[in-house]
């Protein structure tokens, strides 16, 4: 849908960098003061990993000692909810199970039995830590007589570093697959910073409401402040940020109301644009050389120049120059010839932007900008999103070139508004408060539904990011129960994992989805492994090591090299072939031919599968001269279980037929790695 875009103009940047006042706008001195009045202090993140809920609460206490993210009033609601005691995960899990099985029973659907220990351990290891269990972990788990061993295993996995890394990769895919910023020199470093940031938040088990607040209210350098990535990935475009904020944090897809009232839901066009009106004053500006491959971006609040009564918009700045060009010329004219040469422009505080203005204005192309030319300064031809504007203007679809209608920020759920003409952070912080308020059920439901669907294989709502008051949940009562308790826990993410994995629903045996069955959750369903899970599973079996992550590079050349290394790392190459949008309904994620080709034929993977050289297979064959034992070991390694009698017999027959032990075992390994079972979670 081609949106009517406001003319978005680079010139506003110039205001901020100090050219602006020359145009006669600010009565209050240089506009370089246009940075946020109170720069948001960095949230102190505890490195120490959290062992249990008690410790998580102590983290929350520690956070209070640092300046609050968003003003005192902002945190109070979250704090109040955090003070409530989180319920015991096992008890909540039991209540959720009861609600689900009652509904299934009523519908006449039999539930599958609880899965065995090795199925559980593989499932939960992939879900939480992102890798299958080692053979010794499997053995120890099987031998453990404790009745609490499943929840204990979950607790261990949640406090392993793998949990935070695995889920940081999940969130990376969630954000990256919807990015409208497609320039790799901006997107890749920004997402790399995001990966590190979100991993720290997860390792410290920061509550989801705080993470969401940080993502909505972020400012700073895109390379060091990873929380800026959500906004940077949407190019700081107010309507695109609104779309993603609503989709990710509320599970409500409002963007259909961008151009017209929602065709099937009750959302009005104005409601969408009033959400976008929380974000007009975000400004993204490049840092570093324009042509550099490693340019970083800086996300700052845009403060319109005061004094003209109605707030500045980009167009106003150009109009100001047109009306009074001599002020602009005087500012830059060094040799007193009353015109501006390219050389003079290059000495401006921000020469890149000034040169753009120069190119725009120099209509006779004589290399000199005169007052006459400035009087006829055209609007720039390009869309330059994210430059910041004082107010949000809803475009008129009938008149795409008109100014549009100024809207105040209003949160569409409940119709609350922080007021008119507010500074950037006041707007964004108030939105974060509305979104994360415990009284807003959709914030918790969207998260619970997403995590539940990822773990269980199917959500209460599908697609997982299209929920909200206009949709009907399956097993609505169970979702209500989980969401209510998730809020009561203070949006404790680890608590949610403990609770979901503690349900019998999560622990059921696998059965194919019955398309005629109206209600889900009677059994577990095989789902495809995400790219990173498959990569790590391959590494687990074949025993290859990932190159150490590249240290933060200094200098342009080093940063460029680092970006290329990141882009070409084995994981990244694998990711390109296997990645999918984690918000997609699993049913609609099909395997692709390039994926099958890679696992079938890739030379490097086939080399690692050999029984000669220093490979994992060679080690197994050396250690287990008996074929039956070697087959058993291979199955434990690849499938995290022992072979069935039929499988063991099939492999032994194959060994007999081929009569070359090494070659036959290479074929067995090839078959196991190319199997459905290996490539799915079940």
């Amino acid at each position: 849908m081609d949106r009517a875009r406001l003319p978005q103009i680079f010139a506003i940047t110039m205001l901020v960098i100090g050219l602006g006042p020359a145009a006669g706008y600010s009565a209050e001195g240089p506009a370089s003061q246009a940075t946020p009045k109170k720069p948001r202090p960095q949230q102190a993140v505890r490195e120490k990993r959290v062992q249990n809920r008690m410790l998580r609460q102590s983290v929350a206490v520690a956070d209070k000692t640092t300046p609050a993210v968003s003003g005192d009033q902002t945190k109070s609601e979250a704090e109040n909810s955090a003070k409530r005691e989180a319920a015991d995960p096992a008890q909540v899990a039991a209540r959720v199970d009861k609600l689900i099985t009652a509904e299934l029973q009523q519908a006449g659907i039999d539930v599958a039995p609880i899965c065995n220990d090795e199925t559980f351990l593989r499932r939960v290891s992939l879900d939480i830590a992102g890798v299958p269990p080692s053979v010794s972990e499997l053995t120890l788990f099987a031998l453990d007589p404790s009745s609490q061993k499943r929840s204990a295993a979950v607790g261990r996995l949640l406090t392993s570093g793998s949990y935070a890394r695995n889920w940081s990769r999940y969130w990376h895919d969630v954000v990256a697959t919807r990015a409208t910023e497609t320039r790799p020199q901006f997107l890749i470093p920004s997402l790399a910073a995001f990966d590190q940031w979100i991993e720290k938040q997860l390792a410290a088990n920061r509550p989801w409401n705080e993470i969401a607040t940080d993502l909505m209210t972020a400012t700073g350098d895109s390379r060091t402040e990873g929380q800026t990535a959500l906004i940077i990935s949407q190019r700081a475009e107010p309507d695109d940020i609104a779309t993603e904020v609503s989709r990710l944090f509320l599970g409500i897809q409002l963007q259909c109301a961008n151009c017209h009232d929602h065709p099937t839901d009750s959302w009005k066009r104005e409601q969408f644009h009033s959400l976008a009106a929380f974000f007009p004053r975000i400004q993204v500006r490049p840092k570093g050389e324009l042509q550099s491959r490693t340019q970083s971006l800086e996300l700052v609040s845009f403060t319109p120049p005061s004094g003209n009564g109605r707030g500045g918009r980009p167009g106003d700045f150009l109009r100001g120059i047109r009306e009074n060009p001599s002020l602009f010329i005087r500012r830059l004219d060094k040799n007193g010839d009353r015109q501006v040469s390219r050389e003079e422009v290059q000495q401006a505080p921000n020469p890149q932007q000034a040169e753009r203005l120069f190119d725009l204005g120099d209509s006779n192309k004589d290399g000199l900008l005169t007052a006459d030319e400035l009087k006829k300064l055209p609007d720039p031809p390009m869309n330059l999103p994210g430059r910041g504007a004082a107010e949000y203007l809803m475009p008129d679809p009938q008149e795409p070139n008109s100014t549009g209608q100024k809207l105040d920020p209003v949160f569409f759920l409940g119709g609350v508004s922080p007021g008119s003409g507010l500074p950037d952070l006041d707007r964004r912080q108030s939105l974060a408060r509305y979104v994360t308020a415990p009284t807003n059920p959709w914030f918790a439901k969207a998260f619970v539904n997403r995590i539940w669907a990822t773990l269980v294989g199917e959500g209460f709502y599908m697609p997982i990011d299209d929920i909200g008051p206009e949709r009907t949940a399956r097993h609505a009562a169970a979702l209500e129960e989980l969401s209510r308790e998730f809020i009561a826990s203070g949006y404790d993410i680890a608590w949610l994992f403990q609770t979901i994995t503690g349900t019998a629903t999560y622990q059921r045996q696998t059965r194919p989805r019955d398309p005629n069955q109206s209600l889900p959750f009677a059994a577990a369903i095989p789902t495809r492994l995400r790219a990173d899970l498959l990569y790590d599973s391959l590494a687990h079996v074949l025993g290859f090591q990932e190159p150490e992550p590249v240290a933060e590079a200094e200098g342009e050349m080093m940063q460029a090299a680092q970006m290329i290394r990141r882009q070409n790392s084995p994981r990244a190459v694998f990711h390109q072939t296997f990645a999918f949008d984690p918000s997609t309904t699993p049913d609609e994620i099909n395997g692709t031919i390039p994926q099958a080709l890679l696992l079938m034929n890739n030379a490097e993977i086939n080399r690692l599968m050999r029984a000669s050289g220093n490979t994992r297979l060679r080690q197994i064959l050396d250690k287990f001269p008996d074929n039956t034992a070697a087959i058993r070991e291979l199955f434990l390694l690849v499938h995290s279980r022992e072979p069935s009698a039929h499988e063991a017999a099939t492999c032994r027959d194959y060994l007999d037929r081929v009569s070359n032990r090494q070659e036959a075992f290479e074929d067995v390994l090839w078959s196991l790695l190319n199997s459905t079972e290996f490539q799915t979670k079940h």
Binding site: T182, E244, K365, E588, E663
Partner: protein
């Protein structure tokens, strides 16, 4: 009775997915041996697809200068030193670097009045591939992928969409199948002229088959333990892949049976080999092939040394483009193959102090040939200094609608986004009927 369209919309909402719908129909058809009328309509859609039409997109990454390609302005301040040459069609003159293309002008139509607003590479590339501007929460398909979805035969060994050029998905601003998914997702070829990565078998063929046999047997246990549907899907994928790997169609990717003369005509360059591969793929039944001109010898983003750089690029692209059109025609393929030459925008009339030209979406050129396009004509005109469109402006939707019409694809056909939002293949736009003869 609900119309078929309504039915489709319900399926996209996630209540019943399309795959289940088809699976149910197949099961029903098997059980009764018959299909009712509506089911036939659904299944027959594939049979009704127009067979054999193909699209080749020659993509000039970076934004080629219209002044140095198909809209030269010799003797003007904005035209620079570039001269114009005569073509096979009297009255049509193009820039001096395109001598071979000039000889094919009777089959090529030029558009000198392309116009757009987007002047940033990534966004313009996205828009000039998909017809849509990038928006949050949705990835639009490249037009070629939408067309492949309409036209590609369902049961074919080769992929429906092939993308040729360095970098693959890493390439700057790669545009794929978006929400249309894997069936029409581009198959990447980075080195045209050789078997693509991972297509060559890792083991001799008999051993490969032996392995597949073992895999098939071992899958049974998981299928019986609840993985039945997943295993069936997986088997289908592996069978499709096996067919590709073992089919003689794979030889399409190599040029063993091409004469040295043919290869020479396309030129000794990756882009030339890409164009030759495009012809071979189209001949073998592939629906959409994109060949990207990019990298060290084909960056059209000529902010510096525009004139020498375009001349260098043209040395590679001119013979390849001309050879492709001539070769397709000679083989009788041009009537069913649409060839499009374009980039994401044009370049400024003003020559900057670095003898370069900067981004200029307001007016630029494109070239099209084949699939019923009437060659030897020019659509639209730019003003004398090349700063604006003088007549017959052609917007991105206009252009895309025209391409669809040439390929007999309904551009107003709606596909459903993942949340069930209907999106037309092209949103708006009027076809340039003069192009279609």
């Amino acid at each position: 009775m609900p119309s078929f369209q309504q039915l489709e919309i319900t399926t996209g909402r996630g209540q019943v997915t399309r795959r289940h719908f088809l699976r149910n129909i197949t099961a029903g058809a098997l059980a009764t041996g018959t299909l009712n009328f509506r089911e036939l309509c659904a299944l027959g859609a594939g049979a009704l697809q127009k067979q054999g039409m193909s699209l080749i997109l020659l993509w000039m990454q970076g934004g080629p200068s219209q002044f140095e390609t198909f809209d030269p302005k010799p003797g003007t301040a904005t035209g620079g030193p570039t001269e114009a040459i005569e073509t096979a069609v009297p009255g049509i003159r193009i820039a001096q670097w395109w001598e071979r293309t000039a000889q094919q002008m009777q089959d090529i139509a030029l558009i000198r009045s392309m116009t757009n607003k987007e002047g940033e590479h990534a966004r313009a590339t996205y828009q000039m591939h998909t017809g849509y501007l990038p928006t949050g929460a949705l990835r639009h398909p490249s037009l070629g992928c939408s067309i492949a979805k309409e036209l590609a035969p369902a049961d074919h060994n080769l992929p429906a969409v092939v993308s040729i050029g360095p970098g693959g998905r890493n390439a700057a601003q790669f545009v794929g199948s978006g929400f249309l998914g894997v069936d029409v997702d581009p198959f990447i070829v980075d080195t045209p002229g050789s078997i693509p990565r991972n297509v060559g078998l890792a083991t001799p063929s008999p051993r490969f088959e032996r392995r597949l046999g073992l895999l098939g047997e071992l899958e049974n246990d998981f299928a019986a333990r609840g993985g039945e549907v997943a295993v069936a899907d997986h088997r289908q994928l592996y069978e499709k892949t096996r067919r590709l790997v073992q089919s003689s169609d794979v030889q399409t990717f190599e040029f063993r049976d091409e004469s040295p003369q043919t290869k020479a005509q396309y030129g000794d360059s990756d882009f030339g080999r890409g164009c030759l591969l495009a012809r071979r793929l189209v001949e073998a039944g592939v629906t959409f092939v994109e060949v990207r001109s990019t990298g060290p010898n084909g960056n059209w983003d000529t902010h510096r040394d525009n004139f020498t750089q375009v001349a260098t690029n043209a040395k590679v692209v001119d013979p390849a483009f001309a050879a492709l059109v001539a070769d397709l025609k000679q083989r009788g393929l041009l009537s069913r193959t649409l060839v499009v030459w374009m980039g994401e925008f044009g370049r400024t009339p003003r020559i900057n102090p670095n003898t370069g030209r900067d981004h200029y979406p307001r007016v630029f050129s494109a070239a099209v040939a084949g699939a019923g396009i009437r060659g030897g004509q020019v659509i639209g005109e730019s003003t004398a200094d090349g700063s604006a469109v003088k007549s017959d402006p052609v917007t991105a939707p206009d252009f895309f609608t025209t391409l669809c019409k040439a390929l007999k694809v309904d551009s107003t056909k709606e596909n459903l986004s993942p949340i069930g939002r209907p999106l037309k293949i092209v949103d708006g736009g009027n076809p340039v009927d003069k192009l279609l003869g």
